[in-house]
C-alpha cells in the first residue's frame, strides 16, 4: 500500500525544515511520496523549488506543488492560469465561501484545503460538493489546524471536518488528509490519519482511501497530463 502526504511546506515558504529533512522523515514514517506545496510567491520561486527537488537524494516520490492563498476569486483564477502546466498539484487554501465555491467549480484545481478554516460553519454546501465531485476536486483535511488548536476551538474544527467528511461520503466527493506540516515535527504517520478519519465518523476502508488511493490517483493523473500522455478526460496516448 502506498501512502502520500500531499501538503508539506519547506523552508521556501517560511517552514523550518529543509527539503532533505522532510523527505528523510517522511520515509521514516512510511510514506511513498510527498507533495512539497509551498505558497505561491511567483514563477521564479516555483522554478527554485523544482530545481531543489531535482537535486534531492531520495527514492521517495517528491512532487512540486503550489498552494494558492487567494484574497479573491479572480486572483485565484489568475494564479491557476499561470501555474497549472508547471506543477503536479494545485492546492487552494479555502475559507471564504466564494473562493471555496469557485475552487470546486474549477477542474484545474486538485485540492481545496481546509474549507472550514476560521468559519462558523463547515464552508461547504450541496452545490459546492456536487461541483467538486463533477470536477474531481478533492477536499483537503489539514491536520495542522487540529494539532495547533485546543479545547473549544479544536472541538469546533473537528465538528466542521466531521460534517464535511460525512457530506463528502454522501456526494462521493474525493477527500485527502494532509499534515500541512511546516517542519518535520508537524508530520505524522499515515496510519494515524486513517485513525483520525475513522474517529470522525467514516469506516476504516474509506479512511484508508484518504491517504492511499485518492492521493495516488491525483498525482498519477497529473503526471500523465504533464508528460503529455493524457489529452483530456478518458483520452490517453500510450
Amino acid at each position: 500500500m502506498k501512502f502520500y502526504d500531499l501538503f508539506v511546506q519547506s523552508d521556501l515558504s517560511g517552514g523550518e525544515s529543509s527539503l532533505q529533512q522532510l523527505v528523510d522523515f517522511a520515509k521514516k514514517l512510511g510514506y511513498s511520496g510527498i507533495a512539497v506545496c509551498d505558497n505561491y510567491q511567483g514563477l521564479e520561486k516555483l522554478e527554485e523549488l523544482k530545481n531543489r527537488i531535482s537535486e534531492l537524494k531520495t527514492d521517495l516520490e517528491v512532487y512540486p506543488s503550489v498552494n494558492i492563498i487567494p484574497t479573491s476569486v479572480n486572483e485565484m483564477k489568475e494564479i491557476v492560469n499561470k501555474v497549472r502546466e508547471k506543477v503536479n498539484l494545485v492546492v487552494v487554501s479555502g475559507s471564504d465561501y466564494s473562493v471555496n465555491r469557485a475552487a470546486c467549480d474549477d477542474s484545474r484545481i486538485d485540492i481545496l484545503m481546509h474549507p472550514e478554516l476560521g468559519r462558523p460553519d463547515s464552508g461547504l454546501d450541496e452545490p459546492s460538493l456536487e461541483a467538486a465531485t463533477q470536477n474531481n476536486v478533492a477536499i483537503g483535511i489539514s491536520f495542522r489546524e487540529i494539532l495547533f488548536n485546543f479545547r473549544k476551538p479544536r472541538a469546533y474544527i473537528l465538528n466542521h471536518i466531521s460534517k464535511n467528511l460525512i457530506l463528502c461520503d454522501h456526494f462521493r466527493t474525493p477527500f485527502v488528509v494532509c499534515s500541512c506540516a511546516q517542519n518535520v515535527w508537524g508530520m505524522r504517520s499515515p496510519r494515524e490519519f486513517v485513525s483520525l478519519v475513522n474517529v470522525l465518523g467514516l469506516d476504516i476502508g474509506k479512511a484508508f482511501a484518504a491517504t492511499t488511493s485518492t492521493p495516488q490517483s491525483i498525482v498519477e493523473e497529473n503526471k500523465k497530463t504533464l508528460e503529455g500522455n493524457k489529452v483530456t478526460e478518458g483520452v490517453e496516448i500510450e
Binding site: 522523515f25 521514516k28 514514517l29 491536520f143 487540529i146 494539532l147 495547533f148 485546543f150 479545547r151 479544536r154 518535520v184 515535527w185 508530520m187 505524522r188 504517520s189 496510519r191 494515524e192 490519519f193 485513525s195 483520525l196 475513522n198 474517529v199 476504516i204
Partner: protein, 127 residues
Amino acid sequence: MVEEKKPKPLPPSLRGRRRYVAFQVFSEGKFITQDLINSIWHSLLNLLGELGASQADIWIAKDIYDEAKQIGIIRCSHDNVEQVRTALALIERIGDIRVVVKVLGISGTIKATKMKFFGETRLTEFT
C-alpha cells in the same frame, strides 16, 4: 510483611478484550518517562474526555518503556484502538520538546507486541 490480598483473576470470558499498542517517539531532545506519560494522559483526556478515557481502559506500561530507544506499550480496550492512535498523533510536545509519536503496531499480548515490534526473540529459537 503481610502481602496485600488481590481479587481473583476473572475467567477469560468475563475479561475485557484488550489490545497492546506499540509506539515509538521521535523527539528533538531527551525527556523523562514521567513527562511522556503525563503528555499521553493529557492528550487522551483532551480528545476523549474523562468518560471516554475511562471507557478506553488505558494503562501505560511504565516498566516496559525503553528510554534509550524511546519505544513503549500502551494497553487499551479493543474498541478504542483508533481513538488511542488519534490521541497519540495529537501529542505535539513533551514539556518544551517537540515530538512525533508513531504507532508501530497493535497486538493482543505484551509478549507478541515485543516480538513483533521491538525485535525480541523467543529463547526457544536458540535451542
